[in-house]
Amino acid sequence: MEIEKDLADIAVAYGSSRGASYVEARVVASRNENYAARNGVLLGGGISFSRGIAIRVLANGSMGFCSTPNLTKVGVVDGVDKALKLAKVSQRKNPIRFSEEQIVQTKWKSPVKNKFEDVSIEEKQNFLIDLDKILKQEFQPKLPTRTLLLDLYSDQKYIVTNEGSKVESENSIISTHTFNTAKGKAGGEQRMSSLGGTGGWEWIEEKNVVNQILENNRGLVKAAQHAIEKPFSKIDVIISGEVAGIIAHENVGHPSEADRILGREGAQAGESFYLDLLQNENLGEIKIGTEQVTIIDDPTRPGNSGFYLYDDECIKARPRYLIKKGMLNELFLNREYASILNTKSNAAARAISYKREPIIRMANTFFAPGNFTFEELLNDVKKGIYMKSFTEWNIDDRRFQSKYVGLEAYLIDNGEITETMIRRPVLESTTFGLLSSVDGVSKDFYSPHGDCGKGDPMQGAPVWLGGPHVRLRDIKLGGELNNRL
């Protein structure tokens, strides 16, 4: 079904005629199909459609935004008037400017073989029911509650600006979410885990999703059954791509967001410790980790959950090298913040629906793979912990002090992963503490799916957060005070 490109064009022309220096109209039509099952019984399912237009204007140096599902000429013109009125009453002293960027007229789409709507409802339901049967068969009675969700999202989008850019896109994202509880001697363990990517229904088979979920739950059940508390002094820790990914996202991705550094998110997601670092030194001059640390965010990597080729300000996407060989290298920028920093946007503007404005977001943030094999990383560890997955995590709002609690974690002894599992090892460290302890990165790569929250009202953006195995030296684990809570 065609989306209302003509109305977006009308919005832009009308906004310009009313004196806006910048007008951007974005029509989005999306379809969301979901199913949920608990212990093999379908709890529910539904298909929802969303369709509307977002209008953003700059007038008198201030920004105004209006969204409406009223896709008529009257509705769109009214939306432009409202956005203009809001901009004009803002009484801003320093005018907002956008960076000068290349004008583009293009189309992109994520590759899809089997569209969600072409797959029968029974097949989609049966995926969850059969998955539960497999989990039940292997783990019963050790996995007493299993909650499985399937989320199938697709959209069509058209963005036009009064500068002449026009970008049409079609995107399709599939994700599974599991929340399972395993019984254990010390009360059990729980794991919330998401897998996802861009693509159609074929993703389930191509990515061997059932086996990935099965493997995740093997770890959960083993941890609940066998993990023991063990105190350590300083110890080497090898983290999996899953743990490396959350560190890349939380400790490096978020503080690299320019709007956060410059205070726009101050009352919600907070600011950034980069603000201190950038007071006296410039990007490229600040050492934040060892030479082994390179962290990239690449929206263009095929199949990632945050995939796009042009952002929601019509800027061509490219990999962003946030940290290069341990040095702070690049920030996430949209046009507003690129202008403030006198540079170009690197296409970080994303909006999760027509109801939201585009703001600076991550897409697919990861530790860049290194030269080691996983075995080589292990061989050089005399006494250590292999943290394969995590449960609880959080980080302060300047993104400096983080905590990651291991779930599936094994003792490493003389270069070998042993059968001894360690209960809930706690990596409670500063960003410097983590990144300056990295001495080896493997060649492999693994990335789970995540929903990254930011903005007010909240915008949960689909992302990947991953990487290879990473070796951290001489880590002092936390958690001594609350192991028995």
Binding site: G45, G46, F65, S90, E122, L149, A267, G478, L485
Partner: protein, 418 residues
């Protein structure tokens, strides 16, 4: 200086359909008769492919008249957009004058009309107005304070915003010179903002569906038992004039009033809707909402309206003065996550002003500690409840919660190891 002003128009029809024990939920934006007919026809076909929903036991079938004794709508909201930028600038200025050097925040306001119609003939409608304001003030990069204001009645909104700005500026100023806190066990004073977030993890778990899937620290065996200190009494009250979760009826048409939840520390009951009350063989509390897990489809399940924690006898100053042991006062927090929800093991990060109290006095601002504890243990260790009941509703507190300052004994505070 205002960064951005936004306006959203929302015209949504939320539809819950049940057919032979099968259920589905969907929304129609900008509904027209044609759209509604087509979508219901498609949803009906979709239902044919679904199995029966084993947790569905029906919706409200008794007929009701909904007469709310209180108003949720203040017509001043209709012209508030003309005044709002000036009020925001006044609040910012107030915060700067009380010590802040930089201020960020959001004022969000709106009005709504909600109409209900069910196949059992229940029909009702109500108007609502609302505002919520978050302001965060900074002195340098690491000293900050937060102020909140929210409600439905705009009488005195200017003062509410000014007070929030003042409070944020004063806390930020008090936080200047903060040093790394020492990890350990402390008594803890939680401001209403912190108490609403931390204890909110328990209130979210009052849903029988969450208990079934082990997504709640509560268990059925807790009902009727003393699981919190005797000072702790909590209700769910949907008929509060200022409550942002107020409503005369729930989404399936059950009239909604006040429901006692905890009485003197005893968990009296869970929140219920028709389906769960039949499942649990208890009274329906009229708490049906369209619930989701943060992703995916919505269900009919119980959820809170406004949570109200009964105020105690103490002023904040008295609670501080009575704190002879080393005690930490936390004014705001964020990022609360569980290692194990069923077991109650969690941590959360204080942000903004945090202060060490010794011998009944605030000794110094401190920083960079994390509350790493157990929610059930915290409930049973409540030591004092303030009389400063405030409505809290912001980014980290999605359920409107009327709650005072709460002091808890013997909590674990941790810090980064390197």
């Amino acid at each position: 200086m205002i960064d951005n002003s936004k306006i959203w128009y929302k015209d949504n029809l939320e539809l819950f359909l049940a057919k032979e024990g099968k259920t589905t939920y969907f929304e129609i934006e900008a509904p027209t008769q044609e759209k509604i007919k087509t979508r219901i026809k498609n949803a009906s076909k979709f239902l044919d492919f679904l199995p029966k929903n084993v947790l569905y036991n029906g919706i409200e079938s008794n007929q009701h008249d909904y007469k709310s004794p209180v108003e949720f709508f203040d017509k001043k909201i209709l012209k508030f957009s003309d005044k709002a930028p000036e009020l925001v600038n006044v609040a910012i200025q107030e915060s700067l004058e009380h010590g802040a050097s930089k201020v960020a925040g959001v004022l969000y306001f709106g009005h709504s009309e909600t109409n209900l119609l069910t196949s059992y003939g229940n029909e009702g409608s109500y108007l609502g107005s609302s505002y919520r304001f978050t302001i965060r003030s900074f002195v340098g990069p690491e000293s900050s304070g937060q102020g909140l204001a929210c409600g439905r009645d705009l009488t005195g909104v200017e003062n509410s915003l000014i007070n929030a700005g003042t409070s944020a500026g004063e806390i930020a100023k008090m936080a200047v010179g903060g040093t790394q806190g020492t990890p350990g066990r402390y008594d803890l004073i939680m401001s209403p903002t912190v108490a609403a977030n931390v204890l909110g993890q328990l209130f979210d778990g009052l849903n029988p569906l969450k208990i079934l899937i082990y997504m709640s620290p509560l268990k059925y065996e807790h009902i009727g038992k003393q699981i919190a200190s005797k000072e702790f009494s909590v209700s769910d009250d949907a008929l509060l004039n200022e409550g942002l979760g107020s409503r005369p009826f729930d989404v399936e048409g059950t009239p909604k009033g006040k429901t006692p939840i905890f009485s003197k520390g005893i968990l009296e009951r869970l929140l219920q809707n028709t389906s769960t009350s039949i499942m649990d063989k208890v009274e329906n509390t009229g708490n049906s909402i369209f619930f989701d897990f943060g992703v995916g489809t919505k269900f009919l399940a119980p959820g809170p309206s406004n949570i109200v924690v009964e105020g105690g006898d103490y002023a904040l100053e008295e609670i501080i003065a009575e704190s002879k042991k080393p005690t930490i006062y936390i004014t705001s927090n964020w990022y609360t996550r569980f290692t194990n929800i069923r077991g109650g093991v969690f941590s959360t990060i204080p942000r903004d002003g945090m202060f060490l109290i010794e011998n009944g006095e605030i000794q110094k601002p401190i920083r960079k500690l994390r509350l790493s504890d157990n929610i059930l243990r915290i409930c049973s260790n409540i030591d004092a409840i303030g009389k400063d009941v405030n409505q809290i509703y912001w980014w980290e507190v999605p359920t409107p919660t009327f709650i005072p300052t709460i002091k808890v004994k013997d909590c674990v505070l941790t810090a980064a190891t390197q």
